[in-house]
Amino acid sequence: MEKIIFYILSAVILSLSLMSVLSRKLLRSAVYLFGVLTAIAGFYFLIGYHFLGAVQLTVYAGGIVVLIIFSILLTHEIDHQMPTPEWSRVAVAGALCVAGAVMFIQLLQGSLFSRVEVPEQSDLNTLGNTLLNPGGGGYLLPFEVVSILLLAVMIGAIVIAKQRHSVDNSSQEKQAP
Amino acid sequence: MNMLLLLLIIPALTVGGLLFSNGKRLPRMVAAVGMSLQFAAACYLVLAYLQERAAGNTAEMLFTSSYEWFKYLNIRFDLGVDGVSVSLILLTAIVTLAGVFISWRVEDLAKEFFVSLILLATGVFGFFISIDLFSMFLFYELAVIPMYLLIGIWGSGPREYAAMKLTLMLMAGSAFLLVGLLGLYFYSANAADQHTFNLLEIARGGIPIEAQRLFFPLTFVGFGVLGALFPFHTWSPDGHASAPTAVSMLHAGVLMKLGGYGCFRVAIFLMPEAAAEMSWFFIILTGSCVIYAATHAILQTDLKYINAYSSVSHCGLVLFAILMLNETALTGAVLQMISHGLMTALFFALIGMLYERTHTRIVQEMGGLLKVLPFISAVYVIAGLASLGLPGLSGFVAELSIFVGAFEHPDVFHRVWTILAVSAIVVTAVYILRVVGVMLMGPIKEPAYAALPGAFWYEKTGALLLILPIVGMGLLPLWLADMIQFSLIPLLRALGVG
């Protein structure tokens, strides 16, 4: 049963990502991407990482894709058709990617993966404890760094995006930290 | 404090003083004072050196001292002089001082001109007093780079092209040199089993022959580019022709000597076995250089080009003599360096004076100058005679020693090349005498020439500074030759012929 679901998910992921890359309609592309990300979330659920799957759904599929669609709607007409890329470019990029993928997969198949036999620790409790543990094996510091990153990016985005024409105008709009 | 450091401190102070002297007249005064002091210091050094030797000090290098610089890499600043470097230091001091006097009239950016000129001289002094490869290389590059500005800003003709060509070719030479020097460092070992840049320590420890085969050509060519080694000499005619007078003097008179000096102090002294093995190849190069440049000099009509090719020919002779690897020829090589340095500087100075008056450097456009410019013309004749090796002037001793030394080799190869090189002397006579005949003798070509002013006091001073040693060397060559010969002993011992 799980096996079949996995194959279905894989097929969805691969075909939709290919379509997303090839489609000439911008908005469709974004919708395909949404499909891919949702399927990946499904995969996370399948593998048993429910929290990660939920995050993938909310942040990625729910947040990022919405942001992208939003920006498409802001900057393009709905039925905008993109021109097809030149042949030479497609050929070079295609050859490069196919060669890369083949080499990569062969290498992966040739590698001996040894499983470490220990009891699995993936419930939400362990996850939370590891994430906020300041001691050995804990991820508190990265957590803090990510929060700084979010803050910095927010400042950056606001500074770039905010309209400004004159001093008086902008001092009222001011909303950075 | 070491006396030799004085030779660096005086120019440094002069440069410092120049930076604060504005206007058109002050900089030249500062430069003249500074370089006179430097000249006095160089004379004092010669005396001190002779005294020390007379007192029986037989060390390879005198007045040595060693300052720690980068301690973990064992890079030190090692100072020391022997007879060869002392005489070259004196030469440099003379030519620099003469150069300052000759450039008395530089008014466009005078301060910058003298700063660059003295920086160049500083590099040369530093090179001659260092006995470790690192500081030698440092000063070598320091001496080359001001040339770019000197030729580029104050030069004439295709100055930008000439400056760029000269700088890039010399820097390319120094790049190969760097590879050679680093190779020497990593194959060296001193008493404490560290790598070292010190010349004497490297020589004592010896370099394995495989490494010598690799690095000898690099080092020799690296220095050779500056010594106008054929076929890397092409920067020289263009550079000299475009450079302002004092710069041509310094460059041909002093800077090109760095090449010859480096070749024998570093390439041959540290890698004698490879030198013996490979000398044939470089003898062919330098021998062809002598002949090629001499014949080219005949074809030129521009005075500066004539002299530039003649310089290439003479410097080729220096390298040729060094490669003979025996005492007589090496002594001749050093004598030739000094003699040529004085002579060619004098030539360039005179050409500059003539050009300022006649506004041409083409031989055929001048004529009968002896009547209107007696001082300049007379000095020109003397310089010319020295250049073609007239007995009684400096060139004779030098060239004679070279040819005698070269002929000491019994095999056909060396003798054939020696004879070929000697034939270049005949060629030299042709172009020198032709120039003297056309330019100085005969009727006055242009009526305007009759009213030309004679030499000014500063021009006379500059010329006399150069001509007195030329005559002196010709009359009393022996003390100089003795001083040099004694200093060649370690080198000859390394070569196995002492």
């Binding site: 760094v145 400042i155 | 760029m164 820097m171």
Partner: protein, 474 residues
């Protein structure tokens, strides 16, 4: 957590404090007093920089997530000095351009958060921290590159930068995932122990390395460099060319020389090739440039190739030559960028032909530029000469004489285009030269620091010796 532990993270905490103070000041200062932000920020950062040199300490925090020692301390201090100079050089521009638009403090905040990312990156004890530091140091810079919102090419630089940065981080992540797959850990110290040197690890490391190579702008990962440098505000370009590159070099050095000895054979060959490619291609492209920002961009690419020479030996001399060269390069490059910025700010000119006859009207600026260019080219007795010399010594000590020869030939090529600028400034005379440009006090201070660094760093051997001693343990 004890007081001593806080001292270990001093750099980060200090910088956070500076960020907080400036944020508060931004809130409390009203519209007319906004220009006071600039002196305040500079003073605070100056204090932070100075304090950074005190009390070097060694230790680990957060269970090995964060580590520091003398060398890492030194790296952070070097980055600090560079950022201080960049900020000083920005002062005038910020007052003229940013304060009226009311965006000055954000500029500082973004630069500092990027610097904070670099701190975390060089202090990382874990691949996750390396990655997050990398991102934190990159993303704010993308915003900075697009900072001149009214200029088309600034926005263009921003988008190019963030897309390449995205590509780089995706590739890096792929690499990290393979390393994780092979070793099962992200902790750097364990990573070295767990590695078996199989081809999967090699591939993983190659991908990871590619991500960092983007930041150092090694060929073939350099394509974004000239466009972004030309389009971004000059101080941001200066920041990218020195600070961001420096941090990436440092982390690469820590990883390669400190943690992954098994990969030695692989990376020496790869770096050998990349060094040659980067030097040569960077130089050849620089020859064709007439826009000074683009020329400096390609020159920065070529210099990155020279830095790679230091990786040829993982002994103490290799490490020391890299760190020392970064320090020297920082002063030289920032001096050059500073001059270009001054002239661009006052006249809007940035082509080589505009610089003709500059010495006659602006002797001081021209001299600074001359020193900077000669130092970049490696002319004695300026610091650049020593920096290059030690890199070459590293190569020679490892016995790579062919590489050494290629490298020295490249210095001659680079000298050519540096001399072209000198030619324009000193040799040429112009009918309408640029007028006398009076730079503001901040810029002047920045340039004076740079010149002092260029002149003193080389001859004063103590600096190198101190670095060498610190490189004993990584």
């Amino acid at each position: 957590m004890k007081w001593d532990d806080l001292l270990l993270m001093r750099h980060e905490l200090q910088l956070l404090a500076v960020i907080l103070i400036v944020t508060c000041a931004e809130i409390y200062l009203s519209g007319r007093d906004k220009s006071r932000i600039i002196p305040l920020s500079l003073a605070l950062f100056g204090i932070h920089m100075a304090a950074g040199w005190l009390w070097p300490a060694e230790g680990e925090l957060f269970g090995g997530m964060y580590r520091t020692n003398g060398l890492i301390h030194l790296m952070k201090n070097i980055l600090d000095v560079g950022v201080l100079i960049v900020l000083l050089q920005t002062g005038g521009w910020a007052r003229k351009q940013l304060v009226p638009e009311n965006r000055a403090s954000e500029f500082f905040l973004l630069i500092w958060s990027s610097l904070l990312g670099m701190y975390y990156m060089v202090s990382a004890g874990d691949l996750l921290m390396v990655f997050l530091g990398l991102e934190l140091s990159t993303l704010p810079v993308a915003a900075l590159a697009a900072y001149e919102v009214l200029k088309m090419r600034s926005a263009e630089a921003g988008i190019k930068f963030i897309l390449t940065a995205g590509l780089a981080s995706a590739v890096t992540l792929m690499g990290i995932s393979l390393l994780y797959g092979s070793t099962g850990t992200f902790v750097l110290a364990d990573l070295g122990k767990q590695m078996q040197g199989n081809s999967l690890e090699a591939l993983g490391f190659l991908f990871f390395f590619a991500g960092i190579a983007f930041k150092i702008s090694l060929v073939p990962f350099h394509f974004w460099t000239p466009d972004v440098y030309e389009g971004a505000p000059i101080s941001v370009a200066a920041y990218l060319s020195v600070i961001s590159k420096g941090a990436a070099v440092f982390i690469l050095m820590i990883l390669l020389m400190g943690f992954a000895p098994l990969l030695t054979d692989l990376w020496v060959n790869v770096l050998y090739l990349l060094a040659i490619l980067t030097m040569t291609i960077g130089n050849l492209f620089a020859l064709r440039q007439r826009n000074l920002k683009r020329l400096l961009a390609y020159s920065a690419v070529a210099q990155a190739g020279f830095i790679m020479l230091g990786f040829m030996s993982s002994q103490q001399d290799g490490k020391a030559s890299i760190v020392y060269f970064m320090l020297v390069y920082l002063f030289s490059n920032l001096a050059a960028f500073g001059v270009v910025q001054t002239i661009e700010l006052h006249t809007g000119k940035e082509d080589m032909s505009d610089y003709e006859g500059l010495y006659r009207t602006n002797p001081r600026l021209s001299l600074v530029m001359l020193l900077a260019l000669f130092s970049l080219a490696g002319i004695p007795p300026l610091a650049g000469f020593f920096g290059k010399f030690f890199l070459f010594m590293t190569v020679a000590s490892a016995g790579y004489y062919l590489l050494l020869t290629i490298a020295v030939i490249n210095t001659v090529i680079s000298l050519y285009y540096y001399l072209l600028i000198v030619r324009a400034m000193f040799l040429r005379k112009s009918d309408n030269p640029l007028p006398l440009v009076t730079s503001d006090g901040w810029m002047r201070a920045g340039l004076v620091i740079c010149v002092a660094g260029i002149v003193v760093l080389g001859v004063a051997s103590g600096v190198y010796d101190a670095i060498y001693a610190l490189c004993a343990h990584l």
